[in-house]
Amino acid sequence: MTKYNVDLTNCDKEPIHIPGRIQSHGFLIAADAFDLAILYVSENVDFYLGKSSSDLLKMDALEFNVFFGSVANDTDLHQLLKLAKNQENFSIINPYKLLIKEEPYYLILHESHGKIIMEFEPATLEYDIQNLIGKSISEILSNKTLSGLLNHAAKEIKDIIEYDRIMVYQFLDDGHGEVVAEVKNDDLEPFFGLHYPASDIPQQARALYKLNYTRIIADVNAASAAIETYAKDMPLDLSHSSLRAVSPIHIQYLKNMGVESSFSISLISKGELWGLIACHNYSPKFIDYKAREGAKLIGQILSSALEYKQAEEETQEDFLLKEAVQELSGQLDKDSDLISSLIRHDVTLLDVTHGSGAGIFFDGHMYTIGVTPDEAALTDLFAWLKETMTESVYHTNQLPKILKSAQDYASVGSGILACTLSRDMGEYIVWFKSEKIAAINWAGNPEKPVEVNSANETVLSPRNSFDTWAEIVNETSDKWRELEISGVLKLREKIVSKINKKANEIRVLNERLKLAYEELDTFSYTISHDLRTPLTSIKSYTELFLHQNQSLDEKGKKLLGRVVAGADKMAFLINEILKLARVGRSDLQPVEIDMTNLVRELITEVVSALSAPQVKIVIGNCPPVMGDLTLITQVFTNLISNAIKYSSRSNLPEVCIDGQVDNEEVIYKIKDNGIGIDVNYHDKVFELFKRMENVKDFQGTGVGLAIVKRIVEKHNGRIWFESELGVGTTFYVAFKNK
């Protein structure tokens, strides 16, 4: 037969389904399924049948009956095999009880790659186990919680098969296992809560646990029996064999633990190996086929209960999360304020995940709810997300290991689940999960079984030490569950559509506003234009009347004079409004304006118009300005004439005009030492028809600066001022360079 050199370097690749050996508490014969010629025989048949394996290999299965005494009728192996073949199913036969040398044995049959494998093992159970199992199962299923279910299962199994220690061992996400339930003899040290590294149960072993729901290792110290065959190049596949010999690595592992025999039952949930019920005994122990089948049944029932219970516990949790998403979506529809709908109602962002806090950056503001890092840390985190996050959702449960600055707030924010609202605007919602400082108690150093040999290969070795080895896991939060992430994605979709809807509404309003503005400009233009004509008539007729009626008395002349003065005042106002309306209507024709000339000409004109030759004018730099000549002229006419007008009555009046080029702007400043502007009026300066308390004695309409502001804004420029009452005012006006 083929020999496999299994050493500690290839345990993970060890072909454990074809060990070429069996455990020696039973014996094995395999025959060709077609002609029933004996092809494989375990070497220990001698011990059980008193005939050497080489003798048996010459035989036909038909000749076997001589070995068997029957319990009931005469055993006809040939008939049995034929029956099994016809039925294509061995389960109706298994186990077949027979007598060898007056001792009861079970024959267990299965087919493997065209061979019928016959395994013989002692039948030891003297009573009917069925009743016991039925009672146990109803006991187990009466439990409401998952942990209660597992503990009772362990207890019932211990009562039935009486091993020293029964553990329920659960495989966690990363493959390592944890003892989640345990029932043991009082003198044994507890393993409950201990973790076992993933390498303790290699992949191919897990595959076999899924194939065979039970596995017995009767005695780790018993020598295994080789399988003899002439077909040495065709090793017998023992995947489904219950006698299959145990990997020497695993034997060593059990020996190191002090265990002399073991029995395990697979727990399957949703088609995957959920865990094992591991039964350890500290002396050799064998339980017969029927006891094993009973345990297997309990395992299967526990598996489906497990699936159901787990689903039930998840469903309850899922339901709450889903309901919160639903509720928030409703609030988003009802409450027009986005932030309010997310954090100011009974159901908030906090209910959508299991996080303990959330932060939102939206529309230039930071909002938080629950426990979060401070605002500075949030700002830093959001900037980092803007830089690195490309998907709509990002999550980690170990943020401090990725973002160094997050170490400062590891206690509240080791886990984050972030979703993008707008990457351009750096707008995100982030949920936080706090740090879970978890101490994991390993059964021995988890790094130990993986060693590196001299050839630099990774080596699996069975651990010698199972002393508790504690590992502290920090800067880590609970994981983000699939449902939390999908809920956040759903919510995000809703929020983004709400934001878009709002943006669209604003765009439409903006268009309407623009239109209204244009209409208003046209309206003011037309109305003032049309008003001028009758106004002129009023004035003209009044003057003509006065002219042609020189005999009118003084009182009459004075009254008609008032009519003329009123018409003049009204005409002036109309003109100002016309100018303002014209700014809105005119198309800009930007040119480069020679400001030196413009300012000089303006000053001459304004000084003479205001008859203020006493005002000293200082002209500094006059860099050119890009703009519409007519409109820019209007700006400077207004600002300079204001400066001259309001300083004309000061002692040593002085007006300075100076321009500077600063990066992208040309900034002009027009400074006077005039009457100044009261602080209380600072925000009214540019409003239409607003005139200050202290300018009553000066002529003006309150339209000038409103026009100036509109012109400057139309040029995408800026205008502002500094002023002190009785000291003077400085106006600044900035135009874009390009």
């Binding site: 002129t536 008539s537 003209s540 002219h547 018409a567 014209r582």
Partner: protein, 139 residues
Amino acid sequence: MGSPDIFYVEDDQDFAFILEHAVREVKEDLVLSVVEDGRDAIKTLEKYALDKFRPKLILLDLNLPGLSGLDLLKRIKEIPFLRLTPVILFSTSDDPLDVKASYEFGANAYITKPTGYNNLVDCVRSLHEFWFTQNRSVN
């Protein structure tokens, strides 16, 4: 029928009325002819040209129904006989764009209508002074 001294196109009867008084105030015997509509104006002017009548001064309101003052200006400047007759745009508008366009179309002056009778009299007096007394060579 002889040609007027001043040919005035104006749809605002009030303003035309006031101007008539102002013109008489300045010089009793100045002849002012007022036409209210642009099309009538161009017909009249074309007839003048045929009859070799030449007004000494043409005043045009800018905003006229039908043909605008600017259209009228263009048409006048296309009549060779009237090419050298001074045309003055006379408007309530002081919009710089109107002013610019008027000069481009060949106006000899652009005057914003003065408000009030007294101002108008001053204005007409100054016009008369310049175009009828000092600038005699044109006519």
